[in-house]
């Protein structure tokens, strides 16, 4: 458990290959996520970016036939080491999915508190404070503070997605994984989430999968381009979008394929 060479480095994959059975969806990807930055993963559908994301909180291994080779280092520690409990790990690496997934039987409050309660009993006041804090950080507090006891399904799609962000933030993760978080939202909802990315990166390391190149350009510090399971190019976002070094990257960002 050596300390990371660079304290600014929070998450790192080392020659990560993700497989479904014998088929590799992500091939030999080494990628670094500096602390408190936003990294966007772009690429055409089926290029492995979501699978890659799901390796970072060990959700991939729950998929049918899912397994990996290589390493994923969180603060210098391999999260695939047998001594690491995947369930505990997922409390350190939060995730928000493509579609809003509020728990339908729970109230707004209980949804946000869900990840806290799973850690065992906590004083009521502490949970209250954590729920409020998470909702504030997800920019949802003002809209729901008077109806915390109502069903989460009463919220609009955009609000539900921010609720899912709040739910992921409540257990105070270090890393936040966003899997196309705006895919099912209207422009206003999308803008909300994008603004959130900017605010949240002061506290969290964020990795966002997106199909929307403008979104990647708007929210991220670094952009990684995936194609057919390979990492083609990684760079600072403004550089990758203005002067990509790889021909495939240029073809993709200029809309010639994908």
């Amino acid at each position: 458990m050596a300390p990371p060479a660079d304290a600014r480095l929070q998450l790192e994959t080392v020659r990560l290959t993700a497989l479904y059975g014998r088929r590799a969806a992500v091939k030999d990807v080494s990628l670094m996520f500096p602390r408190h930055t936003v990294t966007a993963l772009i690429g055409p559908s089926g290029c492995g970016k979501t699978t890659f994301l799901r390796c970072l909180n060990r959700m991939h291994e729950l998929s049918e036939g899912g397994w990996i080779t290589g390493k994923v280092l969180l603060d210098g520690e391999d999260i695939y080491d047998p001594s690491i409990d995947a369930i505990r790990l997922r409390r350190r690496v939060g995730m928000v999915f493509q579609r809003p997934t509020p728990f339908p039987t729970m109230s707004i409050y209980d949804n946000v508190a869900a990840g806290l309660r799973v850690n065992g009993g906590r004083p009521r006041a502490e949970v209250d404070a954590a729920v409020e804090g998470a909702l504030r950080r997800a920019a949802l507090w003002d809209e729901v503070k008077d109806r915390l006891r109502q069903s989460a399904l009463a919220l609009s799609g955009g609000q539900q997605q921010r609720l899912c962000v709040a739910r992921a933030l409540a257990p105070e993760p270090e890393v936040l994984l966003l899997d196309e978080p705006t895919a099912s939202l209207d422009p206003a909802g999308t803008q909300h989430i994008e603004e959130l990315c900017h605010e949240l990166k002061t506290r969290y390391t964020i990795c966002i999968v997106t199909h929307n190149l403008q979104q990647a350009a708007r929210v991220s510090d670094y952009t990684a381009f995936f194609y057919l399971g390979d990492l083609i190019e990684i760079g600072r976002t403004e550089e990758l979008f203005t002067k990509p070094t790889q021909e495939q990257t240029e073809a993709y960002i200029t809309g010639r394929f994908g």
Binding site: M59, L62, R88, R90, R91, R99, V118, S151, A168
Partner: protein
């Protein structure tokens, strides 16, 4: 073109008429049964029918209080035994049942689902009544529970499978252990559907007669002792309807009406549970 359109409309009209007629037939059967029950049974329904026990043949009057209470006890006990096993099996099938063992359990449940209820009665007689040496309400409950379990298991499995996969992933990604995901998120989301399945299952066995014939046996007196023979509405109907006396036939109709009313009440509760579920899903 217009000929084709005409033909299309004609075919559509005929088929719509046909399926409407067929559904009318289905409803007609139910309406006739209910109507007949009410016409022949309602006149015998009075307060004493619900509060008095049967009187000896030849005397008039008397009621089915013992059968109503017996039905409640036997079906209640059957639910007590059957619900946990059935729901548990359903959860197992939905959550962990993708392997060979799951396949076997599912197959056995389907076979059991199609087993004639009288066979289950014989089974209960062989394994419970004979070793214990006497008929008992408990043996009847056990037989009904055996009928209930496969029904509940498959319904529960279906309901749990209806819960979107994304919810499961959301819970796991939040650091929920798998068992906790199953119970707190998946089962809770499917709860209204499972409750509905339970009510339908209970309603189904409440009307069973065959498995009780040589287990609970029937009892002319009021009894709440589960290790003794006990009367149920279905057994009472059987005895009265096959008996030689007009008075008995009259009571059989009335008892049938009461049983039908009870089953209807359970079905309505199931409907209500479904509506709650829809309400929650909005």
């Amino acid at each position: 073109m217009s000929v084709r359109r005409w033909r299309r409309r004609f075919t559509s009209g005929v088929m719509t008429g046909l399926v409407a007629f067929l559904s009318f037939l289905a409803v007609l059967a139910l309406v006739l049964i209910l109507g007949d029950l009410v016409a022949r049974g309602a006149s015998s329904l009075d307060w004493s029918f619900f509060t008095k026990n049967p009187v000896p043949a030849g005397e008039s009057g008397g009621g089915v209080a013992n059968a109503i209470v017996g039905t409640g006890i036997i079906v209640g006990l059957a639910a007590l035994i059957g619900l946990p096993i059935g729901i548990g099996t359903g959860l197992y099938l939905a959550e962990y049942g993708s392997g060979r063992l799951g396949w076997i359990v599912r197959f056995v449940a389907d076979v059991l689902n199609g087993t004639p209820s009288i066979v289950v009665g014989i089974f209960a007689w062989t394994w419970l009544v004979k070793p214990m040496g006497h008929f008992s309400a408990f043996a009847g409950s056990a037989a009904l529970a055996v009928l209930m379990v496969p029904m509940l298991a498959r319904t529960t499995e279906e309901m749990v499978r209806l819960v979107p996969h994304s919810l499961r992933e959301a819970a796991l990604a939040l650091g929920y252990p798998r068992w906790r995901t199953s119970l707190r998120v998946i089962a809770r989301t499917a709860l209204a559907g499972i409750v509905t399945g339970c009510l339908v299952g209970i309603a189904r066995v409440a009307g069973e007669t065959a498995p009780l014939l040589f287990t609970a046996l029937g009892n002319l007196n009021f009894s709440t002792h589960v290790l003794e023979p006990m009367q149920t509405l279905s057994l009472q109907i059987y005895v009265y309807a096959t008996g030689p006396f007009d008075e008995w036939h009259r009571l059989a109709w009335a008892a049938a009406l009461v049983l039908m009313g009870l089953v209807l009440l359970l079905s309505l509760s199931a409907r209500w549970a479904i509506r709650q579920r829809r309400g929650a899903a909005r």
